[in-house]
Structures are given as C-alpha cells and as structure tokens.
C-alpha cells in the first residue's frame, strides 16, 4: 500500500505517525488480549478466518472511505448489497435454468453485481450533485427503496441460489490461492488499489480537496460534481464486489441481508482515523479499522467470560477506547 497522505508531511510526521498509530496500537492490544484469553486465537487459521470475514465490510469500507473523505455519507450500502445479491441470484438462476453453463452464468452474475452497484452509486451521485440533495437524505431514502424492492422480489422470504450454481460459485468464497482465501486476496487488492487511487491520482487528490473545502476545489477548477459522482459510483462498485464475495458464502438474499452494514462500514472508516466531516483520511486506517471491528467480535466468540447479553457493550467500550487512543489533540 502506498504511504498515506497524513504521514508524508515531514514536519508533522512524528505526531502524525503517533496519531496514525492509534488504531494499530488498538489492534495490537486487542490481539494480545485475544491470545491471552484463548491460545487458539493466534493461529493462522483463525487469522485467515477473521480476515476473510472482514473482506465484505472491509471492501465496502474502502469505498466508504472515499465518500467520507469527500465530505459525504452513504447509509444505503447494506440495503444496496442485499438488493444486488437478490438481483444477481435471480439473474443467475434464470440463466442457469436456460441451460447456460454454470461457469458462464456465474461470470455474468459476478459482472452484473459490480455493474449494478456502480449504477446504483451513480444514481446516488446524480441525486446529490444534480438534484442538490443532502447525501444523508438521498441514501436514507434509497436505503428504504433498495430493501423494499428486495422484499418485493423475494416475496418477503429469501431468494436462494440453485445448488449447481452454488457449487460452481463456492470457490470464490471458500477457495484459496497460495493458502490465502480468495476474499482476502480481493480485499487486499481493493485496499491497495484504493490506497493508490487516493494518494497517487489526481482523482484522489480532488476527493480530499472537495472534502476539505468544496468552494476552494471549485475555484481550483476541479469538476466537483463529476468527482462526487465518481466517488459514489466507486462506492457502489465496491458494494458490488463485496456482494460478489457474499453470495457464494450464504447463497441467498433476504430482507435481513446486509442489515446495518452501513453502520459497520462507516464505523470502520471513522475508527480508522478519518474524520466524519471529510477532508483527510486514509485507506490503510480504514482497513485496520475494519479488521479491528471483526477482531473484537472474534474474541467475543472465542471466550465465554462475560454474559452473551453484554457482547455489544464490550464492543462499544473497545471502540471508544481505541478512538481515545488516537484522539484529536
């Protein structure tokens, strides 16, 4: 991953480095606790499990990171993922029953997931830029619309992938390359690309400029509307990719799929040190934030020292504690 922006400024680097270490320190501390509580925590198998399951939220969080840095927000990602999953399964089942080969069907399905996500993202972008509506409201609205439409498609139940297709598709989630599960590879690739895009391209720079001061960006001849549009499109594509990994895992979509993912993705971004008001942030931080959140629940799964009722409380305390470590001056 390329070096992060905030760490590159020489005179502030020491502080920034310490500051940027907040989530990392939190993650390390947490891992230590995990190892002490259960010796099986620190096994490669468990580590890969955690990373694999972080992949969905992590990939979405990378896209969300851009949206938040640009000063926006997207509340609809969970519903969007659910709807995409539903549509893709529906399409694949339809194609499969037409006698298309499972490989072709799955490929078409996967591509259409990304395409659909991008289209939804662009729709958000258009409503926000052309329609001049607050991102919060646009995506609150589409949150309802996406989920309702999935409910409608599934008649309130679940849409399930045909078994034959499911078997063909399964390796996308369950397969491994060089011992590393496919979703982890995809996650790493998306994060690396995201980091490059944010720090090494004009687009990334414009995203930061818009979040920092939209008026200034506009004065600097940045095509603010286009960049915002692209940013929501990018998030949509990330949601599509995440869904593409999700479908083979659970093989179905229902009205409860992806519930509250938006909160998890935004939390990963913010825990990773990006400010909600936009302007500055880092992809690496976001990735660490996402992993940190999964590690918390992994540790809770591996131990039974506290009442199951209090899981959410432990998560809450840890999130606040990590944020405290990297607080603003």
């Amino acid at each position: 991953m390329p070096q992060e922006r905030t760490e590159s400024s020489a005179p502030t680097s020491l502080w920034a480095r310490l500051h940027g270490l907040g989530p990392v320190a939190g993650l390390l501390a947490l891992c230590l606790v995990g190892t002490l509580l259960n010796s099986d925590f620190a096994t490669p198998a468990n580590a890969l499990n955690v990373l694999t399951r972080t992949a969905f939220i992590g990939i979405i969080a990378v896209g969300m990171c851009f949206v938040v840095i640009s000063g926006g927000i997207d509340l609809s990602v969970g519903s969007m993922a659910a709807l995409i999953a539903g549509c893709v399964i529906w399409v694949m089942n339809a194609l499969g029953s037409q006698g298309l080969s499972p490989w072709v069907t799955v490929t078409i399905g996967a591509l259409s997931a990304v395409a659909l996500g991008t289209v939804f993202g662009f729709a958000h972008g258009l409503l926000i830029t052309r329609g001049r509506i607050e991102p919060f409201i646009v995506t609150l609205g589409t949150l309802g619309i996406f989920r309702a439409y999935l409910t409608y498609l599934s008649n309130g139940g679940a849409i399930t992938l045909d078994d034959k297709l499911a078997d063909t598709y399964a390796p996308v989630y369950y397969g491994a390359l060089l011992g590393i599960p496919v979703p982890v590879w995809v996650f790493v690739a998306v994060a690396a690309l995201g980091g490059l895009l944010l720090n090494r391209t004009a687009y990334g720079r414009y995203v930061q400029a818009i979040g920092s001061n939209e008026q200034v960006a506009r004065y600097a001849a940045v095509d603010v509307d286009r960049i915002k549009l692209l940013t929501y499109g990018l998030l949509g594509a990330c949601v599509g990719i995440a869904t593409l990994l999700y479908v083979p895992r659970l093989g179905s979509a229902s009205p409860t799929t992806g519930l509250l993912w938006e909160l998890e993705a935004i939390a990963a971004v913010i825990v990773g040190g990006t400010a909600l008001k936009g302007g500055a942030g880092s992809v690496a931080g976001t990735v660490i934030g996402a992993v940190l959140l999964s590690v918390i629940s992994n540790i809770l799964n591996l131990t039974s020292i506290i009442s199951v009722y209090l899981n959410a409380a432990v998560q809450g305390v840890v999130i606040i504690a990590v944020a405290f470590m990297q607080r603003r001056r």
């Binding site: 309130g156 895992r249 659970l250 229902s254 409860t256």
Partner: protein, 295 residues
C-alpha cells in the same frame, strides 16, 4: 463415553421469543454440564446471518466442537456454512428453521409453523361462526412468516364469509403493532377479530384497542405462548384473549438435551422431530406457564 463438545448457535435475544431460546439454552447447559462431566457446551448468539456464519466458523476452528445445535437466523443463508461444518464430521442438529438443503444436517427439531398459522385461523373462524371481518399483523419479512401467513390464508379460503381486511407487518414488536393497530382502528369501523400472530404484538394490539375504547373486537389471538399472555389466559382477565397456540422456545432445550445425550452414547437422533403446535385454551394454560423464563 466419548467427550462431547457441543456448540450451540442461536440468534441474539432481540425479542422475547429469542430471549426464551437463549434462556432455555442456558438452562440446558447448566443441567447437562453438571450431570455429564464429559460434556462441554458453548453457547453463542448472533445478531444476523453473517455473524452467525462467522460464529460457526469460530466454533469449528477454534473451539473445536464435535456436535452442533443450531437455530439459523435465516434458513437459506446458513445452509452453506452449516453444511461446511457438517462436512468436517460435526454432528449437526438444526432447530426450528430447516436448511434449504437437508443433507447438511443429521437431525431436525422444529416447531410447527403451519399449525402456528392454521390453528388460530380455525379458532377464529369457529368463534366467528364463519362470518366476520378480521385483520392480521405479520412479523418480520422472513420465510417463516410467509409459511404462517400462507397456512392462515389457506384456512380462511374455506370460510368465504370471513373477510381479511388487511395484513401489515408489525415486526414482532409491541410498538409497531400498536401503531399498525391504531391505524387499523381508524380505517375499519368494524373489526371482529385480530390475529396478532405473536404475543408481543398482541400486547400492542390490546393497548391500541383500549385507547380507542372500541368494543367491537371480540377476539385477539396472539401466538407462541409467552408467559404474560398465558397468565392472562389462565386468569381470564381479558375476555378478548381466549386461546393461544404453543410454539415454545423450550424446543431449544429439548434439542440440546436430545443431541447431547444421544452423542454421549454415540447414538443418532431421529431425522426429524416436530414439536407440535397445539391450541392452548384456558383449562390447559397452566401446563404452558413457565414463570422463570423471560418468554
């Protein structure tokens, strides 16, 4: 005896019924672990399907369970993850919500969702004498809810004199049921009976009726046999509550006990055990009353 490490994976206690499940699982754990030293039970609760899939993975890789009792938060979504565990040689008992592909399970213990919809329909139809206007409240958009509603509708088809005015989602919670019922009352000047489809929702429904001071509603049928509703039924304190249908979270307890005892002896369970849903009337109510359970 072979040592058994039994994993229990259930949804979090987000509403009373789920709380009942969690409670009964805890009771089973306490009883069984004192009784059988070779048995270890780990209970995990999950807020949604993907969290539950994660937990199954953790139970497998890290806790190294060799038997599993699972109540999937969604049937379809958990089919694959459960299959995976099953494929690694873990004995799997699925509770309440069957997998879409039953080859991933060794045993299935369930309540009877068809009866859950059929029994109230028959009771209401009988009480109204085949004629009247009713409303229904549904739960959350799930396959389970669809099954119940379909069973209810199937019975009502045989009673053309009864008109189902509307069926909206009350999300198995009191607040939403209250609001939906308030609006039903505004909208329909005459309602003979309400199928609230859940005891939590029936609480909201009754409150809304009381607030509107409406007297036309003769019957409110909840469901699942929560302790509050059973108590009301036993005491006869509300004339609108005349019966209930059992769908007790106790099947969680039964499933755990059956699985644990069978596995300790190296035996199998019958492939399918249906815990029947039965009509609970006033005289039978005390058999279904568990004051210590949260449900």
């Amino acid at each position: 005896q072979t040592p058994v490490h039994l994993g229990v994976s259930i949804p979090t206690a987000t509403h009373s019924f789920a709380a009942g499940i969690v409670w009964w699982a805890g009771v089973a754990k306490k009883e069984l672990e004192t009784k059988y030293p070779a048995l270890k039970i780990t209970i995990k609760t999950a807020a949604n399907a993907s969290e539950q899939a994660n937990q199954l993975q953790d139970l497998m890789t890290v806790s190294r369970i060799n038997a599993l009792v699972v109540l999937p938060s969604e049937s379809a979504a958990l089919t694959k993850p459960v299959e995976q565990i099953h494929g690694k040689g873990v004995y799997v008992t699925v509770v309440d919500r069957g997998l879409t592909n039953p080859s991933g399970q060794d045993a299935y213990v369930a309540g009877d969702n068809t009866a859950f919809g059929r029994i109230p329909a028959e009771f209401i139809a009988g009480k109204l004498g085949g004629k009247g206007e009713i409303v229904a409240l549904r739960g959350i958009q799930t396959t389970l809810d669809n099954e119940r509603m379909d069973a209810f509708n199937a019975v009502m088809k045989k009673h053309p004199g009864i008109k189902l005015l509307d069926a909206k989602y009350g999300n198995w919670n009191r607040d939403d049921a209250f609001k939906v019922m308030q609006d039903y009352l505004t909208r329909f000047k005459r309602i003979d009976a309400v199928w609230a489809a859940d005891d939590d929702m029936s609480v909201g429904v009754i409150k809304a009726i009381e607030q509107a001071k409406r007297t036309d509603i003769k019957l409110v049928f909840g469901g699942a046999g929560a302790k509050g509703s059973i108590k009301t039924l036993m005491d006869g304190s509300d004339p609108r509550i005349q019966a209930n249908v059992s769908y007790s979270p106790k099947f969680m307890y039964d499933a755990i006990v059956m699985t644990a005892e069978a596995r300790l002896k190296g035996q199998k369970l019958p492939a399918t055990t249906i815990v029947p849903s039965v009509l609970i009337t006033k005289d039978k109510a005390k058999d279904f009353y568990f004051p210590d359970s949260p449900f």
